[in-house]
Point group: C2
Chain length 128, copies 2
DNA sequence: CCTCAAATTGATAACTATTGTCAGTTTATC
DNA sequence: GATAAACTGACAATAGTTATCAATTTGAGG
């Protein structure tokens, strides 16, 4: 993978905006910083970076993929109210992979967990 | 929800073809049994049935949603080789929800786990 | 530096999965 | 049987994402 100004900028903006943005949201962030990067280039780079393990692509949050600069093993929670995506630490399911191996015999290469519910901020608001 | 011939047929075919089909695959199954149901009707019913809790919509298997007649609490595994979707029993992560509640304080309404890897059949084939 | 192949960009077009529209049909209730 | 509400399905539209490809940029070697 060669260097490119655009890829560096994308990685930079994604890291500074740790809100699990979609491609569209990232494009906005970039434009706000006067980085006009083509949407094709953005998608191409996001996929390349994910492929290379430098970022994470979060599926399961239809209708569009979100992207995460945090490549540390962890899970995600999306609030049904404010739609914000939160990180969930991976130690909530310590024996998961082992248990699946035992139960199925399959070779597990990766896994993702998505939780849906109401976050604390939105629980507060509802109480008022 | 009123009765409809189409909805009954969709539920019937989905139940008999327990392979977690996509909407397109379901359409094929239906056509094979000479049930020509419009794609709009199919999607509308799948969403209604999922809404009503009579089937499950499986997100996170891009690029398209899969559907599952099994509404029992369970998870999914997709084989990177043959692309088949398998069920994974839910008892592999017994304390999951509690642990997330403890870690985050969030109200968890639902969650999904998707495992990626190689299934036993494909492991066999690779050995040859 | 200069050259050159390989990698990258981005405008445009294309594709795919899914949903909106709406007139005509079916269902259920009285 | 009449009537309102639910449902169908052809068609058009939308949204997210990828393919195409000529022009530009990058990096390794001479």
């Amino acid at each position: 993978m060669n260097y490119s100004r655009q890829r560096e900028k994308i990685l930079d903006v994604l890291t500074r905006n740790a809100v699990h943005p979609t491609a569209d949201e990232l494009l906005e962030f970039l434009q706000r910083e006067n980085s006009n990067i083509g949407i094709t280039t953005l998608y191409r780079n996001l996929n390349q970076l994910a492929e290379a393990g430098m970022i994470k692509k979060i599926d399961g949050l239809e209708p569009s993929a979100h992207f995460d600069h945090n490549t540390f093993n962890h899970y995600h929670f999306i609030c049904e109210e404010c739609k914000k995506v939160y990180d969930v630490p991976s130690d909530i399911a310590p024996e998961l992979i082992n248990n699946v191996r035992m139960a199925t015999g399959f070779e597990i290469k990766s896994h993702d967990i998505v939780f849906h519910g109401i976050c604390n901020k939105c629980k507060q608001k509802e109480r008022k």
